[in-house]
């Protein structure tokens, strides 16, 4: 589904990703872990198409197509979704109207008519129940005054509505208490299928108790330096990242 080959990326001439290789197949869950500043969030943003990052070398291939040159909306139309570490507050746009616009613009890009209003309402109801979201919440301005937990839940709600092929969860666990973490993880698991894939970016192992990865990759200094199974996550949790760094530098 997603093939990243020798990806180098920089921001303002500062190299951040220095040759990433990653292959994600349908139905898989990949975890990307690593210390602060290792390039985890950059990797997520580059795949999602954030324009301030420059791809200097390498390729990002989605379903056989190179998506390097596509704008973020075009990637979204092809099924890429990123759950933001820091979702942006947008006063004046309600959650409902935002998601309606997102869905209908995606449909428009695929040559489909707008989703009928009753169908949209039904879908919103269904997905908000899945994530235990209060209906009143949906008429509030997008992320404005939301608690950390509400913001993250809202991200997963959007993911549930948009049903992406490839979901990248960037530090979705940060700022969540254990109950919210469970609800969010549960939501992600319910959306999981044989046809889609998830990349979980996290600093800590605790989210991976709920969203169990098939592969765990350790990112350090812009490269994937180690790949293993979920046991690797436990090992990192117990021993920290220093031993990985030492192994690399040895």
């Amino acid at each position: 589904m997603l093939k990243i080959k020798n990806l180098h990326a920089s921001v303002e001439d500062k190299a951040i990703l220095k040759g990433i290789d990653l292959h994600v197949r349908p139905g898989e869950v990949h975890a990307i872990m690593g210390p602060n500043g290792s390039g985890k969030s950059t990797l997520a943003s580059v795949v999602a198409g954030k324009e301030e990052y420059e791809v200097d070398e390498g390729e990002i291939i989605l379903d056989g197509e190179n998506i390097d040159e596509l704008g973020p909306e075009e990637r979204a139309h092809k099924g890429v979704f990123m759950s933001f570490q820091y979702p942006v507050e947008i006063p004046g746009v309600s959650v409902t109207n935002f998601i309606k616009t997102a869905i209908n613009e995606t449909r428009k890009a695929k040559g489909l008519e707008d989703m009928p209003a009753n169908e949209m309402l039904k879908l919103i109801r269904e997905k908000s129940e899945l994530l235990d979201i209060d209906r009143k919440f949906l008429s509030r301005s997008l992320n404005e005054g939301f608690s950390g937990g509400e913001k993250k839940r809202n991200e997963i709600f959007q993911m549930a509505m948009l049903e992406p092929k490839l979901a990248i969860l960037d530090e979705t666990d940060s700022g969540l208490d254990i109950d919210a973490l469970r609800i969010v993880a549960n939501g992600v698991n319910k959306l999981k299928s044989e046809d889609n894939a998830v990349i979980v970016i996290t600093h800590y192992q605790r989210l991976l108790d709920y969203i169990v990865p098939d592969y765990v990759h350790v990112l350090h200094n812009g490269r994937i330096v180690k790949t293993g199974t979920k046991d690797l996550a436990h090992e990192l949790e117990a021993k920290g990242y220093d031993w990985v760094k030492e192994e690399v530098n040895a």
Partner: protein, 437 residues
């Protein structure tokens, strides 16, 4: 001949056309003298520092249109709020169109200034209200000198006028260049409520210059909602001089939607002559090309325990320029005044500009006055967020700009008007998305 000289020398001809026995004859004569002295404002005057009239004064305007031209409703329907029942006072090239209008004398007077200035039954109102609050600057004086036509609205006490009143001025291009001087008088007596929508619409590419004066009197506990739609052609310019006198516990709200025109100057002046008055001014300006919109507001707090609220949003693209100059005067007697002023702007292009200037003159010591102005660009991280959800760049931009200006629409009480403004905004931003936010 310079426009000023032309106007001054046309005054005699004008006087011959109108009834010089009218009580306003002396007022007009006085006004033309004032105009002769004052002339048109220039950039040397502080209040006109950022707005030059040179480019609009250079045309050889006809001062009185010679021919009358009829318009069919179907051809201009789109400029009306036709979905709702309303009173209509319609002018074509400055002349009243009875064909398109719907006036009334049934308990309220919604009719013509030309009647009010000449018929004895209106004499008392004219004597008490006409030209009582319009200032004697050059432009207002010019309008007063040539005041003959416009809307006359008198709502006696305890009337809730449910149907909005639409005032529309069309210009057809019958003249190669036309200058108009519409004069409106709105008197709302005790406990009455009225809603007025005003629009100036050119149907031609010939230059049009409108110098309008509106005097509004909101008497005790009256409520006045006034909406100005400024979405004219790029060859039409408007100088709107509005003066509002409020008595105790009255509420007067003016919404100004400026989306078009070559040059638009809004001189909006409030005088609070009573206690517990609410004065609200709101505006959305969305312009591009080389358009220019200047909001010049004044709130004069004279009595204690009153409020004023100003909220102006501006979005400027291309080489468009904007001005906001908000003056608030709080007299010594006006204790416990609450005066708020906000002017927020987004510049879409590097070449667009806005000059914003709050001006507070406070002589009372127990008041709450706040003002804030911002000038910014569209938030890049918000753009990425929206686009990453599949909303294309243009639509994302439009959504953010609409969200930015949205709160100004909250207080629009006529749903059909709100929809119309929303559609004009979507159109202006070049998108086709439902902003049912």
């Amino acid at each position: 001949m310079e426009l000023k000289e032309k106007l001054v020398s046309s005054f005699m001809a004008f006087e011959n056309m109108v009834d010089i026995d009218s009580p306003v004859h002396d007022i007009r004569t006085e006004a033309i003298k004032t105009f002769e002295v004052e002339g048109f404002p220039t950039k040397r005057q502080e209040a006109w520092k950022y707005t030059s009239l040179n480019s609009v004064l250079k045309h050889d305007y006809s001062v009185f249109p010679k021919h009358e031209k009829a318009l069919e409703f179907k051809d201009v329907k789109k400029y009306f709020l036709h979905e709702i029942d309303s009173y209509k006072i319609i002018f074509i090239d400055g002349k009243y169109s009875s064909h398109l209008s719907q006036t009334t004398h049934d308990g309220i007077d919604v009719c013509l200034m030309s009647s009010a200035l000449t018929k004895p039954k209106y004499r008392l109102i004219i004597e008490n209200y006409f030209n009582k609050i319009a200032s004697n600057d050059g432009l207002s004086s010019l309008n007063t000198a040539f005041s003959a036509e416009g809307a006359y609205i008198h709502i006696p006490k305890n009337k809730l006028v449910e149907k909005p009143i639409q005032i529309l001025h069309f210009s057809t291009g019958n003249e190669s260049a036309l200058m108009l001087q519409p004069r409106n008088l709105v008197v709302v007596d005790e406990n009455s409520h009225v809603q007025i929508i005003e629009r100036h619409q050119s149907l031609t590419d010939n230059p049009i210059l409108t110098n309008s004066v509106t005097e509004i009197f909101a008497n005790k506990r009256a409520i006045v909602d006034y909406y100005k739609i400024q979405n004219d052609k790029s060859t039409a310019s408007l100088i709107d001089n509005t003066f509002i006198n409020q008595k105790q516990e009255s509420i007067a709200k003016v919404h100004t939607f400026s989306f078009g025109g070559k040059l638009t100057r809004n001189n909006l002046n409030y005088y609070q002559n009573g206690e517990r008055i609410d004065s609200t001014m709101k505006g959305i300006t969305i312009i591009g090309d080389k358009q220019h919109v200047d909001h010049n507001t004044l709130v004069h707090h004279i009595k204690p325990n009153c409020e004023s609220h100003q909220d102006y949003k501006g979005i400027f693209d291309d080489r468009a320029t904007g001005v906001f100059n908000g003056k608030v005067v709080v007299e010594k007697e006006a204790q416990k005044t609450n005066a708020f002023q906000a002017n927020n702007n987004v510049l879409i292009s590097d070449k667009a500009s806005i000059n914003t200037k709050p001006q507070l003159e406070i002589f009372a010591d127990d008041v709450k006055c706040s003002h804030g102005c911002t000038i910014g660009q569209l938030d890049e991280s918000a753009m990425f967020y929206l686009r990453s959800r599949g909303i294309p760049e243009k639509e994302a931009k439009a959504l953010l700009m609409f969200a930015f200006s949205n709160n100004v629409l909250d207080s629009v009480k006529i749903p059909v008007l709100k929809n119309r403004i929303t559609r004009i905004i979507a159109n202006k931003l070049g998108v086709d998305i439902g902003f049912d936010l």
